[in-house]
Every structure is written in C-alpha cells, then in structure tokens.
Amino acid sequence: MFNFAFSSISEAILMESQNGQNHGIYVWSVFFIVFGALILTFCIYKNKIRNLSKKIK
Amino acid sequence: MNILYFEFLKLRKKSRGWLGPILVFILIMTAFPLTVEFLNEDLEQAFFSILWIAVLLVMMLATEDIFLEDFNDGSLEQLVIHTESLSFVIGVKILIYWALIGIPVSVIGSIYCLGITSSYEMALLIFPVLLISSYIFLNLFCFGNSLTLTKGSVLGTLITMPLLLPLLVVLGKVVIAINLGLNYFDFLILLLGVLSIIIVTIPLIISFVIRAHLE
C-alpha cells in the first residue's frame, strides 16, 4: 500500500499504462491546473484584502 | 374579475407585446426549413427541437418587459398599496399573457407540426403539450425577469435558462413517446403536475421579489 508505483522519476512523469498509453500528461496537467487555480485564488484574495485594508485605513 | 379585464386591456392594446412574439414564432418556424436540405426526413428530425427552442425563445421575448413597464410608470406601487393579494394579480397577469400569446403559439405550433409530419394524431397530441409547456416557460421567465427587473432581460434569461433544462428533457421524451405510441398520458400528467406547482409558487415568489424591488 505504501510502495511507490513507479521506479523512477521519468516513469512517474510518463505514467505508461498497461495498454501502452502514456497517461502522465493528463494526470500532471490536471495536477498543475488544480494547484495553479488554488494558488492563484489564494493570491488574488490575499492581495484584494490587503488593498482594501489600505484603502480603509 | 376587474383585474382580469384590466390586464387584458393593457396587453391587448399593446400589439407589439402580444402580436410581436407570435409573428416572431411564425418567422422562426418558417425560417428553419431553409437551413436544412429540402428533404422531408431531415425536416421531421429537426422539427421538434426547433419547435421547443422557438417556443422557449418566444416566451422569453414575450415576458421581456412584463413587469418593467408597470414598474417604470408607477402602476406597481399603486398595486402594492391597493390590492390585498399581489400574487393573485401577478398570477392573472401571467394567465392573460398565456391566453394572448401562449395559446396562439400553441395553435400555430400544432399547425406547423401537421404541415411537417402530416399526421393529424401527432398534431393533436402535441397541442396540449405546447399549451402546458408554454405556460411553464412563461411563469419561469417571469420569475427571472422579475428578479432582474431594471437590469434588462439578458440577465433574466441567463438565470432562468438553467432552471428550464429539465423541462426541455421532458419535452424531448414526449416526442419519442408519441412516436413509439408509449405512455403519452403519463407525460401529460407529469407536465400538468409541474404546472400546478409552478402556478401556485411562482406568483408568490414574484410578489415577494417585487415588494423587495419597490422597497
């Protein structure tokens, strides 16, 4: 259960499946989209709150 | 009784309000065959989807300024002050709109249906469905337009259209049911049930919204 499913980093990036297709591109693009969206939203809100606080002061 | 007559008078004398949507409906239904190849089969396949969308669009256009005019000229204020039940008046208003726009559109829709499928049975069966669905469309668009009263009907449509999708699914299924000779009356009862819920609730919600607008 806690063993790596991949033996090397390049394998983890490519994620070659049993049917021979490389699924890495899908998995990692979703990964970056999700994290990108999260980070972006956090940054936007933090920034907006900071600007508004300055204005109110 | 008075309210019924007043609303009738208001709409009947405004021909762009009721004749306009009907003519637009006829135009859409006449224009669509021009976009498909001149073969009856193609026409028949596309006909019903065009029909439902056309009804939807026309009801959207018809309700565009249903409350806006009364709001702008101050009639709504008078209504709120003088009537016991605002929701009843709103219900009557929607009924009049249905009688002057929904019913003619349903009749014309069935005639087009007869013309394209050349089946009397189909036209006959589709008529009540058109009547009920146009009434439901009207109610929901009225709700959307009452929310966005002064902000234009594009926003109203944007927030109402998602609410209408289930109805479109049902309408699609009705046509299949008629074609296969299946449980048509079950669908009719389903639609009637939905309509009876909507007839009661939507005017209540709209009257709440309108009071909030005037506040």
Binding site: - | N2, F6, L9, K10, K13, K14, E69, N72, D73, G74, S75, E77, Q78, V80, I81, H82, R211, L214, E215
Partner: protein
Amino acid sequence: MIMTYLIKAENLSYKINEKKLFQNISFEVNANSALHITGSNGSGKTTLLRIILGISKPTRGSIETNLTSDMCYLGHKNALKQYLTVEDNLILQSIQHNKPLDTLLKDIDLYDKLDVVVSNLSFGQQKKIALLKVFLNESELLVLDEPCVGLDGKAQTFLTSFLQEELGKNKSIIFSSHINLNIDAKSINLDN
C-alpha cells in the same frame, strides 16, 4: 370629541447602503389635518412617504396606522399607461364616466382630450389626469408627493382649494412640496 390618530410615527430612521438618510422623525396625523413634509433634494421626502404607505420599511422606528380605507397616493410616477387613451387609463383606475367626472374634466380643460393617447399629452396634462384619481377619491388619507410639479397657475389654485375643501370633509392629507401651498398644515423638515 376624542382625537384618534390616523398615522403615528415614532423615531423613524432610514439607511441606504449603510448611509443615513434621516433619523428620529416623529409625527402624528389626525383626522381633518394636513402634514407638509419639507426638505432639500435628497433629504428623503419620497422615502418617508413610501414608509407611510407601507411600501418601504424604516430601518428603525415604528409606524402605526389607524385607517378604515386604502390611502390615495400620487407619486412622481403617475401610473398612466403611455400607449392607452385617457379614457382607457381612467377605466384602469376604476373611474366611472359620470357627471362629476365631466364637470371636473371641464374645470381642468381636459374634456376634449378623452380619446387622446396619453403619450401625446404634455407633462402637465398627464399630471392633471393622474390627479383626477385624487379629486374623485373616497379615502380618508391622501398622500401626495410633489403634487404641484408641472401644473399651471390655474390648476394649482384649483388643487389647493380642493385640498382645503377636503380637509373640511373629515379627510387628512400628507404631502411633500417645495412650493408652499395655501393649506393649513403642520410641517416637518427632514434636513438636520
């Protein structure tokens, strides 16, 4: 005779978007009396009238009414359908076509305008038609928002004398106006 109030307001305040419009307005309107609401533009005269009518709710304070009939209200918007004729508009306002109406129409020079579409009339003429409802009212309380705007001198005197007459008929009036009408009225000012 026991004086009972028709409308009693206590400490009314109103806010829009957290901004104060007016605060702590109190008044009482009895039968046979008039109340003149004054104040500069944007001081909340119309809002106060709408609170009295029950359309808007005050942010703070209370208002009690003691009426047996609907109020008769004429606001900035005259509630006329622009695309209908004067006659149809009168039907919509449940005004019967009878003798008193005819004499009234002659008094305000509108007798020959009955079958004219409202949008073809001038602002003042439209205002007069809207006022017909006030002239023929059967309410205890008249609420008028700037009734004189757009009226010519003749119509203004007609209106004032009508209102003064109404006061004698056990009716009350609440109105807002920049012009001082010749009516015996208490007045409150909304400016601080």
